[in-house]
Every structure is written in structure tokens, then in C-alpha cells.
Symmetry: C2
């Protein structure tokens, strides 16, 4: 399983896509460049360093030593890149899983990582960051981003219902209604227009990467959505916000929500079997359960109850 996972990051186009996601990359850059005091003379660990961009940002921000670790083959390019930029006296890159490699230092002052997946937790890479934190972070150290929130909102989008559900009633003259329940189970990753949101946006989970544990990454949570206009809820949309706050004189954050500049994470859409009609101000109660898939711990099994109806979703 993990060979497939790390193999997917050996493709160069995926790194190009991530680098070209300016919201993502410039947030990391701004966090580091605007907080030189935080980085001055520090030892930094970059978990899952990819092309080495975050490691180089840290070096430029004043770090004394940066160690980047990645199990994907891309790390060999990163080594070339670091040399090409004359940063090999500061940045050391290692190929391997963070759980397996031997670092050239006992402790680090700062851990940086871009570990986020769709709906924040897809790919379960945060587990490796927490492993690194518990093993290598010195007592007063920080992990960045330090805070992350998962947010839900209600979506009024009849086209989505038509495209994913009604579609199966007549496929070139054939009925494929059994596909409806199967397609609904697959949470879809797509860009949602902000004007289709018809509720407040509620935080259902906050993770502090400096203190949370792996068990916190599987959770259940009640939530209440309040309709901001009359309409029909076809789906719940999920996304995440990322914060670089702890120890920062200049705080940085970015959102992957509808309305913000789209990122390569887009949003995650959980379609409802039955649309729910709402009036402005009406509250809808819900419950979210987010777990790792037992058969593939990098994928997510999500159970969502909305207005009394429970549905299971998979992200894989």
C-alpha cells in the first residue's frame, strides 16, 4: 500500500501542481520569511520535503540547520535543487520514512510539514508528523502549521444532485439506479461556488499539531448548521483552514473554503440521499464521525448524520 502511496509522489507533475498552488506555497513562505526571529539559528525538520521548497524557505528565513526527509524518489531531485541554490551547507536531505531514518541531530526546534490531504486528514500523513514531533522535537519546540480546523457548511446545488444522482435514472436509455447509493458514498473533491452555501460555516474539529495525538485524528462531533437563506440542502461541503500562529510575530493563515482562492485541495462534497428543504434561520442538527479505513489506513471512512438521516462516505 505504502509503495503505491510514495510512488504517486515520484511523479513530477504532482510536485509541479503543489508548487503552483500559490495559496499553499506562499502561505508557507510568508510564515517563514515574515517570522525570521522564530527561525534565526534554529534547527528545523521538514517532514515529507518533496522538492525541498519548504526546507529552502526555512534556510532563507535564517535557520542554522534544516533536515528534510522524504520516502519518495523526488528527494533525489531535491538534493540537486538544494545544491543548485548553494544551500547544502544548511539543508540536509534524507531519503526514507521519518519512522525509519536516523537524523543527524537528537532534537530539533521547529518541525514544518505540508501534510494536509483532501478534507484535511486524507492520506493520514499527519501521523508521521506527530511521530516526528514526539521523537525529535525539543520541549519548547513548535510544529507548523500549528493549528488546523475542519469546517462544514450546507450546499444548495441542484446540478450536483442531477449530475451525481438523477443521472442514473436514464443512462443512454438504461436504468442504473443501483449506482446512486454507490456514487453517493464516494465523497467528491470539487470546487464549490461560495454563492451555493446556504448556511453558516461551522468548525467541527480543531487540531493543535503541537499537542494532539494520533487518536485525536479519529473523532466524532455533533454540529448544528443554521440556514442563512431559504433553499434546499443537497450536500454538506467540508474543507479546512490552516494557521501558522504559535510564536509568530506575524501570523499567517489560509483557507481552502469556498469563496477563498481555490487550492489544489478544492472542497469535499458529501451528497445527501434526500435534499432537505430549509427556511432562513432554521437549524439542522448533525453528527460527524471521521475514521481511518481499516483496510487502507490512508483513506477515510466518514459517517454523517444530517437531520436524523445517517450516511456513510468513503474517501479513497
Amino acid at each position: 500500500e505504502d509503495d503505491v502511496y510514495f510512488g504517486s509522489y515520484a511523479h513530477f507533475s504532482i510536485h509541479q501542481e503543489m508548487l503552483k498552488d500559490k495559496v499553499r506555497t506562499e502561505s508557507y513562505r510568508d510564515f517563514m520569511y515574515h517570522n525570521p526571529t522564530l527561525f534565526k539559528d534554529k534547527v528545523v525538520l521538514d517532514v515529507g520535503c518533496g522538492t525541498g521548497i519548504l526546507s529552502m524557505f526555512a534556510a532563507r528565513a535564517g535557520a542554522r540547520k534544516v533536515i528534510g526527509v522524504d520516502q519518495s524518489e523526488i528527494v533525489y531531485q531535491a538534493m540537486d535543487i538544494v545544491r543548485e541554490n548553494g544551500l547544502d551547507d544548511v539543508v540536509t536531505l534524507l531519503k526514507g520514512r521519518i519512522e525509519d531514518v536516523e537524523l543527524p541531530v537528537d532534537k530539533v526546534d521547529i518541525i514544518i510539514s505540508e501534510w494536509m490531504g483532501y478534507f484535511l486528514l486524507f492520506e493520514s500523513m499527519l501521523d508521521s508528523v506527530l511521530y516526528a514531533r514526539d521523537k525529535y522535537l525539543q520541549p519548547n519546540g513548535v510544529v507548523h502549521p500549528d493549528s488546523c480546523t475542519i469546517v462544514l457548511a450546507a450546499l444548495d446545488d441542484p446540478d450536483l444532485q442531477a449530475s451525481h444522482v438523477t443521472y442514473w435514472d436514464d443512462v443512454y436509455g438504461f436504468k442504473m439506479t443501483c449506482m446512486k447509493s454507490e456514487v453517493i458514498k464516494e465523497a467528491s473533491v470539487e470546487i464549490v461556488k461560495a454563492e451555493k452555501i446556504i448556511s453558516d460555516q461551522v468548525v467541527v474539529k480543531t487540531l493543535d499539531s503541537c499537542t494532539c495525538s494520533v487518536t485525536d485524528l479519529q473523532f466524532s462531533q455533533d454540529f448544528t448548521l443554521t440556514a442563512t437563506s431559504e433553499g434546499q440542502i443537497n450536500a454538506i461541503v467540508g474543507y479546512f483552514d490552516i494557521f501558522f500562529h504559535k510564536g509568530c510575530s506575524k501570523q499567517v493563515m489560509f483557507s481552502t473554503g469556498p469563496g477563498a482562492t481555490p487550492t489544489h485541495w478544492k472542497q469535499t462534497v458529501f451528497l445527501l440521499q434526500q435534499p432537505i428543504k430549509v427556511t432562513k434561520g432554521q437549524t439542522i442538527k448533525g453528527h460527524l464521525v471521521c475514521k481511518k479505513n481499516r483496510r487502507d489506513p490512508r483513506s477515510l471512512a466518514i459517517t454523517m448524520t444530517v437531520d436524523g438521516v445517517t450516511q456513510n462516505f468513503m474517501m479513497q
Copy 2:
């Protein structure tokens, strides 16, 4: 490897994408519905039946018996779908690799299959169709689509060069020039605008699925492109055309080329290390070698020589 391959077709969204590709699905439909004489009372084998759509088209077109085979879990949905449409007296579906399953008949009259991958041969599914042909097709039988061509043309698209090559000269203030040669090696699948084609479009391979052998799927071929206008060749674009001709009173074809309605196969772009300036009417000589990747036979290793410069490309 093959578990990953067939597993990818267990996702429902991929079947939705393929079904919603109207150029693809309606071509198969029209071929069958407009040639009822070909199908009347025949025994049809559908290799890689997916949701069963082609099997059902064949049944509606008058086939006496249709056998659909797929190794992916989607075949269980296809069984429901066939029942839902009251076609289970005609259509029989089997789960398994075509190389392993035992068909309920010795011979079939027609083999249908939608086996095409990016640049036609990516995924190497035609191998399985040819296996089925050699084992199950009766002497006067036909395989449809019966004819496929791979076509190349020259592309003048400076943005492509900027986005994939020049980009690496300055990535957020860092040089990543070593990424250029790596990114260029990955042929990219994208939709190319017809107005950016500045040469004739030349067929470099024609495959007759009724007669070709697995060894024909690895080939090398000289080609000559003639510039249709002055410009700069940044890339070679490849695509394929598909024909349903043999035994058809009403012939059907579709193209995945630039200018035709885009399909989910888009086009395949092979970027040149160095752009080539051309004047109208100028000819450019080239040579194409298309092979299976030895380490992963479902991926392709392509070598292209254009104007004396040889480059290696991978599709994986």
C-alpha cells in the same frame, strides 16, 4: 500491480466519467444500434464490461447472447443493472480476468471492448482483447472497434513551454532547473487547442484489432511532419482515432484529436527540450518508438526523435 489497476476501476466516479464521455459512449451505441444486421442473433463477448453499458447496447441491437467479463468489483453493480433492465436472459456477466474465467460458450461471433487508454495503448488492455480473440472468436468473427490509428502533429504553444520548462528557472526565488528534464520526460495528458497545431496530422500506426498481434503493440515508425504555417514547434501532440467499419452497413468513427469534441482521453503532449523554428511548408523528420515499460507493462516508454534530437518519455 494488477490489483492496483483493477482497483482503480472499483471507484464509481471513473465509470461515471467514462459514461458521461458522450463521444465515446454514443459512438459505441451508434455502431451497435445502426448495425442491427451485424448483431442479430449473434453471440457477443464484451471484454472489460464495467457497468455493462456496451453489453446492454449489444443486447438491444439484437444479440442472442452477450457475455461481459470484468475483473473489477464494478461488475457486481453491472449484474444489478442488467437485471434492473430485464436483460438478464440475454446478458451474462462474469467476474474475473478474461485470461482466467471460463466462458459458458466455446466461441463468440463478435468481440466488443472499450480498451483504449491515453495515447491509445496506455494501460495495455488491448492485450487482453487479443487474448480473447485468439481463444474465443470464431473464424469469421469480428472485433470492434476494428481499426485504430495513432496520429501525431506539431504544436506551437509557448505557454506550454513556459508552464512546464521555463517555470523551473525561478520557483519562489529558487532555481529548480534539474526538474526540467524530469518533467519533460512525463508526457502530459491535456486538451490542446486545434489552432495551435502547425503541421499536418500524420498517422504513425494503424492497428487492425481483428488481425494484429501483441507484438504489434510495440513498434517503431518514421514520420514526416509538414509545417502548415510559420512558427515554433514546442511539442508533438499525439492522439488516436477509432473506427467501427468491418461488416458495418453504417460505419461509425470518432477522433480524440484537437478540434474534435474533447473526450476523457484528451490529447497526449510530448514537450521538446528545444523548440524548432519552422517556415510554412518545411518538413521535419521524426521517429517514434513505443514500448511497454519493462517494470510496469501497463505503462508506456516512448522514444521520439524530432529533427535529429532524441528524447525519452514515460506514461505512467
